[in-house]
Symmetry: C2
Subunit: 207 residues, 2 copies
């Protein structure tokens, strides 16, 4: 069965975006600095319909995540921020299930991305995403609140963090919900490259 | 000249101790799980006046930090928590400068550890610690608030994080002071071992 994963860039002090993040400022003030390792990679540029770019170890890691992902689940705020900014075709190239309280017809974009709006909760979203993903994985795209919901619900199987060498000091924290149970992780891979450290973990589930 | 460093174990979600940390519960609830990679190392055990222990790559990293440190600076709360718990000789084996508002005569312990109480601020503490450290480095021992003070004041040269594969969910956050300036780091070393990932960074200082 496919895994439920997330894959996020994070500063050493735990931020995935800078302060004042919102529509037309999706990464927040200074948030580009967390993710700058990715912007000149061929795989990332190709997803933005741009040609060229670097084909290094970071690009392999980036490609790997695109290749294994068969469907996405996304929070409404991330969708709202992206709706005004994503190109067409959007970078997902796969079905995207958006968690929301508002009914809306599916929004079909070019390149294989269809946004389906799910109003009956995260379990339903996962079920629909699994069915759409086939043998591939379901990636929780974000934002941080949505990822935390899946962690708390015990639905996450694996996570990859791209740790950026910067202290951002403020912004949107990935792990900002104290009070969850302690969750053991099994570190499955560490790939270090000059601008980022890619850390992969599996969630250790109690029997 | 010697460097000002810190060296801390941290969970993937950014905690250096669990919730309810305090005297007689210095690591907080579950906080042992952040630091468990260290407890059976020969170097750590030797500092607790225990014999035996593992001599692996983690032990080399641990030894390296002990060897390079010529003096410590410590916050008052960390001192208060440790005063009731440290063995004699304490694990420092070097002069320790404690930041406090209360005058107190130096407290001389066995094995080279003398606690000197500094009431005139962090710059004064660094000056005294540098003088005591000679060619060796000054290590900011903690806690988190004290480390943040040194980061904000631009006094930190290097940091090492021992990243533990666990989501603690709650506790004492190492980087818990939003609003600092963004600080660029140069990643200088990554050593991965089965139970922990050792990440070393230099602070990039503006000219």
């Amino acid at each position: 069965m496919s895994n439920v994963i997330f894959d996020m860039g994070m500063s050493l002090d735990g931020f995935i975006a800078g302060p004042n993040a919102g529509p037309r400022n999706a990464l927040g003030d200074g948030g580009m600095r967390i993710h700058r390792w990715v912007f000149d990679l061929e795989s990332w540029r190709e997803r933005q319909s741009l040609v060229g770019g670097q084909t290094n170890r970071d690009d392999e890691v980036s490609n790997e995540t695109f290749a294994r992902t068969g469907a996405y689940v996304m929070g409404r705020r991330m969708f709202d921020e992206g709706e005004v900014g994503w190109p067409d075709p959007p970078p997902f190239r796969a079905p995207v299930f958006v968690l929301t309280h508002h009914e809306r017809k599916p929004w079909v974009r070019q390149g294989g991305t269809t946004f389906t709006f799910v109003t009956d909760g995260i379990e339903s979203a996962i079920k629909q995403a699994r069915a759409a993903a086939g043998d591939k994985d379901v990636r929780i795209a974000g934002g941080a609140n949505t990822i935390q919901q899946f962690i708390k619900a015990g639905l996450l199987d694996e996570l990859q963090i791209h740790l950026a060498p910067i202290l951002l000091g403020d912004g949107v924290r990935l792990f900002d919900h104290p009070g969850t149970e302690q969750i053991e992780l099994e570190k499955t891979r560490v790939i270090d490259s000059p601008r980022v450290t890619h850390l992969t973990f599996r969630v250790v589930k109690e029997d």
